[in-house]
């Protein structure tokens, strides 16, 4: 093959590669809403109960993706090719991404609607409204602690009275610092800004008994097997495992309320459709209640809890059975500011 030919082949191949790379951009059809959530059974429940019925009424279609990926949101927004419409995120990300200009500021009518529909005010922010609530609470093995079990974080940290390993989420915003400070005697109202050093000192006292988990499956496995008979867990997971007959239960004493938010990445072509859905969602308490009955997550609105069948209600964040015992709601404004530095400290402390 002559040199000329070779160059020609190479050029053609390069051109073809370049072309196919450009052709990948998706063209959003005007009558669909792209929904991205964390995936799994929860997402199925959310879509079935509060996206599909709306889409059917409206005559549009729902395009699903999962799981939420913050790096992808950033990449989409900065490259101005936004294909995600409504995205479920953690509120600390919603706060910092909002400040960075990656998210659409919600129209005033959405904010007003949220406030008037029984959604807790601290969970409504410029760019996001909550779509569900849950708690970081004490999960315990009912075989190991048949008589009595820890009812406060102080007791959770008391390895003499309640021997056994403790499971924590290896994640700065997973409630571990809040629990440690409450256990150390900090009043719930004085939690924030968190005294991270004091929390580490308290955590030092049980460090050798800590087992870290990364996933939801791991935490139920830990409690149910008795490997770590006490775990700071997501209540919905434990409720589900208990319903399946596993020897686990939730203790809601001093539970920490957390929530997810739905946001709209800036530059999404169907932003109007996305905000219309938000209005419908906030108005539609029954849809929220249906989701709770199916997913085990508490609804965004306190009013919606009352519409959930009684048997399912007692384990939902937002139900008096749970909320009367809540110590605090995770302050995601604090976490938006401090997530990076505390994460680094936590990594260092764990590896020490």
């Amino acid at each position: 093959m002559s040199m000329k030919k070779l160059v020609a082949v190479a050029a053609a191949a390069a051109a073809a590669t370049a072309l196919s790379a450009c052709g990948g951009g998706s063209s959003d059809d005007a009558d669909s809403l792209a929904v991205t959530m964390w995936g799994g059974g929860a997402q199925d429940a959310h879509v079935k109960t509060y996206f599909d019925p709306w889409a059917k009424d409206k005559g549009v279609s729902i395009k699903q993706d999962s799981p939420t990926d913050y790096a992808k949101i950033q990449a989409q927004v900065t490259s101005k090719k936004v294909s995600w419409g409504v995205v479920e995120v953690e509120p600390n990300f919603a706060n910092s991404a909002c400040a960075k200009g990656w998210l659409t500021k919600l129209p005033q009518e959405v904010i007003d609607k949220a406030k008037s529909s029984g959604v807790s005010e601290e969970q409504i922010t410029e760019c996001g409204i909550p779509n569900l609530q849950y708690t970081f609470s004490i999960a315990y093995n009912t075989d190991k602690f048949a008589g009595s079990h820890p009812k406060t974080w102080a007791e959770f940290f008391d390895t003499k009275k309640f021997p056994g390993k403790r499971g924590f989420w290896k994640y700065a915003t997973g409630g571990i610092f809040e629990a440690a400070l409450l256990a150390d005697g900090v009043a719930a109202d004085d939690l924030y800004p968190l005294d991270i050093d004091r929390a580490f000192k308290k955590l030092d006292t049980i460090k050798k008994d800590i087992v870290w988990y990364d996933t939801g499956d791991q935490q139920t496995q830990l409690v149910a097997s008795g490997e770590a008979p006490l775990v700071q867990a997501w209540n919905g997971r434990i409720t589900q495992a208990a319903e399946e007959g596993q020897p686990v239960a939730n203790e809601y004493g001093e539970n920490l309320v957390s929530y997810d938010q739905v946001v709209i990445p800036k530059g999404y072509s169907n932003t109007k459709l996305a905000t219309e859905w938000m209005m419908w969602f906030l108005d539609n308490q029954q849809a929220q209640a249906d989701d709770s009955a199916l997913s085990g997550y508490g609804p965004a609105s306190a009013e919606a809890v009352k519409l959930v069948p009684a048997a399912k209600r007692k384990d939902l964040a937002g139900d008096p059975n749970v909320s009367d015992k809540s110590a605090a709601t995770i302050d995601y404004v604090y976490w938006a500011k401090n997530y990076d530095t505390v994460t680094e400290k936590l990594n260092g402390w764990i590896a020490q």
């Binding site: 070779l6 190479a10 191949a13 800590i210 680094e344 590896a351």
Partner: protein
């Protein structure tokens, strides 16, 4: 065949091709050489370009300069975790090779039916997700797991022996993932070794063990080097298995890089960490090739 190849190598070595002419021979492309173009282009787009972007971001994101690298050394965490990563990878490689070598040898002398069975045993785990396998190992190895409860029921041990959330847990978990990558190249090399060479060595008076160590083992080293290298490089990037089966002190750098990219969103810092890993790996390999003739072992060329 082996003898012919040996002769060719001998001739090549002794006809005195200078460094320059060898280079020219490497670069000369005939028409068949064009076949390599698609792969070259592919590598250029999916490997070289992203690598350059990563390097560049590590120096420019969020600001131009060495800030990301300074941040790595400012905290003892990253250097320690990087050290951990290499330590664990080395241990995993050593254990993997120790297990893979006799297994591969057994495969070469087994009957075809058994050889297929052994090959299957190595390959089947390949088709199962690493996450699933790691979870299965947890069920097996945890304090309340199958091994511990069985041993306790049989009265072999009094209390549970901690098998996971320790260094052993990580090594155990990673070795079972790495095993196929070591067994296959070693087996492939061993299969091509001419058994008559062993017979010849014995015929010349060596004991069977001597013939094995002096003839078979050296000839199988290219496979060992390839398997070891594959295992080591792969192990450097593991993080799910160590996170699930290891203790808090067994964090590997991959876990921190993923954390930076997926939750902290400091891409420049993540790029710097990845660059550190890459550079250290290359330095280590360069060092290793000073002592072991890696090129010869891998290519069978001097």
């Amino acid at each position: 065949m082996t003898a012919a190849a040996g002769t060719e190598q001998y001739l090549r070595r002794h006809t005195g091709s200078s460094g320059r002419s060898r280079l020219v021979r490497y670069l000369r492309v005939d028409s068949w050489g064009a076949l390599v173009l698609p792969l070259l282009l592919f590598l250029l787009f999916v490997f070289v370009v992203p690598l350059v972007v990563m390097l560049q971001r590590s120096f420019t994101d969020p600001s131009v300069g060495l800030a990301n690298y300074r941040a790595i050394f400012a905290s003892s965490l990253y250097v320690r975790v990087l050290g951990n990563t290499f330590m664990i990878s080395l241990m995993v490689t050593a254990v993997t090779l120790l297990l893979a070598y006799p297994y591969a040898y057994l495969m070469t002398i087994a009957r075809p039916k058994w050889r297929m069975f052994m090959l299957g045993l190595v390959l089947v785990p390949f088709w199962t997700s690493i996450l699933v396998r790691s979870f299965a190992l947890i069920l097996l190895l945890r304090d309340t797991g199958v091994l511990n409860t069985t041993a306790q029921d049989l009265g072999v041990i009094d209390g549970p022996i901690t098998l996971i959330r320790t260094m052993q847990g990580v090594v155990f978990g990673m070795v079972q993932i790495a095993l196929p990558f070591a067994v296959l190249p070693i087996y492939a090399t061993m299969r091509t070794i001419d058994r008559r060479l062993l017979a010849a060595a014995e015929g010349m008076g060596d004991r069977p063990a001597g013939a094995f160590w002096r003839v078979f083992v050296p000839l199988s080293l290219p496979g060992v080097a390839a398997g070891g290298l594959l295992t080591f490089i792969q192990a450097l990037g593991y993080y799910i298995t160590p996170a699930l089966l290891g203790g808090p002190k067994n964090t590997m750098i991959g876990e921190l890089i993923v954390q930076q990219v997926s939750t902290v969103l400091r891409f420049g810092f993540a790029a710097a960490l990845a660059t550190m890993l890459l550079v250290t790996t290359m330095l280590l390999l360069a060092l290793a090739s000073k002592f072991l003739n890696l090129e010869k072992m891998l290519m069978g060329r001097s």
